[in-house]
């Protein structure tokens, strides 16, 4: 039976996973908007806009939920991350603002397609880099608050090859998810074929980066071997389904693959919430707060999941 603090840390990771699977794919859509090409360029962009419009705001709320639960249940983790990663997180926020507003301006005849596409690339890079910085122990709580100079204290910790590689990997995963989902968003066989090819390319890139990462960063946090095997299996299943044009299966396998990667990261740094010093139990709020947060999550889920199901059924059913 996991402890209360572990449960809530798990819920936060689950919210992040939902953000990656849903919100991440919306960013990935922006990547394919930027890379739209060939004779069906305009139709590709239309399909992306059409797929994202009704859901991107709801998908975005997963990030807010994760942040709010983080500062409610693990305020020390929130503050040390916010201090050490001030620069990449602020840049990510600017990316989030630009992506969201440019997208809505574009849908309502205001232009801004370029800004939408560009910020869709930059934001996942910064999100991934920040995650990489947390995972690699750059957010050293014992160092926070000590004056070590601006560059050494606030830039150098996240400007490492590993952290940037995680950023790139995140971007590739988002683009992969988006391309896989987009095959199911249209009945137009040509467009489906466009995104099938993009999905296969992005899936291969994700796999190559994962293998390269395991070789290049032997000092990185150890991901459980069993999970690595499962990720590989899901990746193969996704690529196989794409090859055979079984798009429903491809969607399930791709989502499983990326979820397993997120959980592999979470388990690799367990029991640390912010390695190398801050454990989940040490960062946790008093018990009463955790209990109430859990009650709020359960009560929220009772109204949230039926509504979410309804939203997705209305807009994503006939595929």
């Amino acid at each position: 039976m996991p402890s209360l603090a572990d449960t809530l840390a798990g819920i936060i990771l689950a919210a992040l996973t939902a953000y990656v699977l849903l919100g991440g794919a919306d960013f990935g859509g922006g990547v394919w908007d930027l890379l739209a090409s060939g004779p069906r360029k305009a139709r590709q962009r239309d399909l992306i806009a059409h797929a994202i419009s009704p859901v991107w705001e709801a998908n975005h709320v997963w990030l807010i939920l994760a942040i709010v639960l983080l500062f409610t249940c693990f305020p020390l983790a929130f503050s040390s991350i916010a201090i050490a990663l001030h620069v990449p997180l602020t840049l990510m926020l600017i990316g989030i603002v630009l992506r969201g507003s440019a997208f809505v301006f574009q849908s309502h005849g205001g232009g801004g397609g370029r800004v939408f596409a560009t910020s869709s690339v930059i934001t996942p890079l910064l999100l991934g880099t920040s995650v990489g910085a947390v995972a690699s122990g750059a957010v050293d709580q014992s160092a926070s608050g000590k004056w070590v100079g601006f560059y050494a204290g606030y830039i150098a910790p996240w400007l490492t090859t590993f952290d940037l590689a995680v950023g790139l990997f995140t971007l590739a995963c988002f683009a992969f998810l988006a391309a896989v989902y987009l095959t199911l968003e249209t009945k137009d066989a040509e467009l489906q074929e466009d995104f099938r090819l993009r999905a296969i390319t992005a899936g291969a890139a994700v796999a190559a980066m994962a293998v390269l990462g395991l070789v290049m960063f032997p000092e990185a946090p150890r991901v459980n071997q069993g999970i690595v095997a499962l990720v590989a299996a899901a990746a193969l299943a996704a690529l196989w389904s794409l090859w055979r044009r079984r798009y429903n299966w491809a969607r399930i396998a791709a989502a499983a693959q990326v979820s397993l990667i997120v959980w592999g990261w979470g388990l690799a740094q367990y029991p640390y919430l912010v390695p190398p010093n801050l454990k989940i139990t040490d960062a946790a709020s008093p018990r009463v707060t955790l209990e109430l947060a859990l009650i709020a999550v359960v009560a929220g889920a009772v109204v949230l999941f039926p509504s979410l199901y309804y939203l997705l059924r209305v807009f994503k059913a006939k595929s």
């Binding site: 939920l65 507003s101 709020a296």
Partner: protein, 421 residues
Amino acid sequence: MNDLLAARSQMAVSLAFHIIFAVIGIAMPVLMVLAERRWQRTRDPVYLDLAKRWARGTAILFAVGAVSGTVLSFELGLLWPRFMELAGPIIGMPFSLEGFAFFMEAIFLGIYLYGWDKVSPRAHLLAGVLVALSGAASGIFVVIANAWMNSPTGFTFVNGTFTDIDPIGAMGTPAALPQALHMTLAAYAATGLGVAGIHAFLLLKNPTSAFHRAALTIGLLVGAPAAVLQPLSGDIAARYLARQQPVKLAAMEALYQTRAGAPITIGPGIEIPYALSLLAFHDPHAVVRGLDVVPRDEWPNVALVHLSFDVMVALGTYMALVGLWAGWLALRRRQFATHRRFLWALAIAAPCGFLAVEAGWMVTELGRQPWVIFGILKTADAVTPMPGLVVPFTAITLLYCALGVIVAKLLARQIVRSPHT
């Protein structure tokens, strides 16, 4: 500009920007639902056009509000990490509830905007009602978190940390009810009269437009009652302040010395005798505490708080009078659309609510300084150790200025403009 001032300025700009979108996000769905309901009843296409345009406007404003709200949730930690370390376990509760309310708002707004021909008319209207309800709920939850900063309750404070915390008790802070009431009414008054005022202005040029007439009526329906009720909720807030946050009230009224039978000072040198005692305690001879109850270094910026307060009250009073005028005309069954003096008064009221909201937040936030958690944690002790905060402040300010201009242009072109007839 030192780092503390830069951090405070960045927070102020982020809040000042976001609050406009939050306020419209709370009230606009009510207007859009009222228009749709009228369309379903009358089948007059003007109302369908209105509901669709307002829904598009809500979509633009909600999107910008969603992302600027995300910025704020991060900024709480990026700028004030020490505050969040202390306060997170206590005020995380209303923020978590707000998260869920916001989620519902986003889900049903998606259904409302893109589901016109995908769900039944009844389900569609219900989706709009849920957007309006969850919008109001999320606003109230955020205001409760702010209320706790003004009147922190639900803990014991020993040696710089909270013990025996009670997050539910914290939500019951005495500031919660007056602030939530005042803010929710402000949202309806500002948006309702804002919409009515814009269309009043357009009716002055184009008095026969059925579109502008319909928009004006629905705007008034929401805005006028809220504007008329707002002074009453202001009275509740003032009486709460007199008891719980006397220094803020003293700064608002520029009352330097504690005294019985305190007057109200308007601008430089005009005094209304006994008025403050009467207002704060409903007794002309009551003792009102002045700024002298705390040492000089715990005073807020009196000039700025006092000015903001007077601006808010003046704007609110004007809006309440316009609301009463509208009620009087409605009672006498007079046409709004041909009453040019009323249309001018209403057009002038259009920006007033938003300016009053900004001024009101200046009052409550500046009036709490130098504290971030009143009596517990000073703002200066909560700020991040990161140097060079003037850079993110400048970046966010420029970004929001640009966004503001684009949103305004887009709304003018897409939503407000007369339909082609």
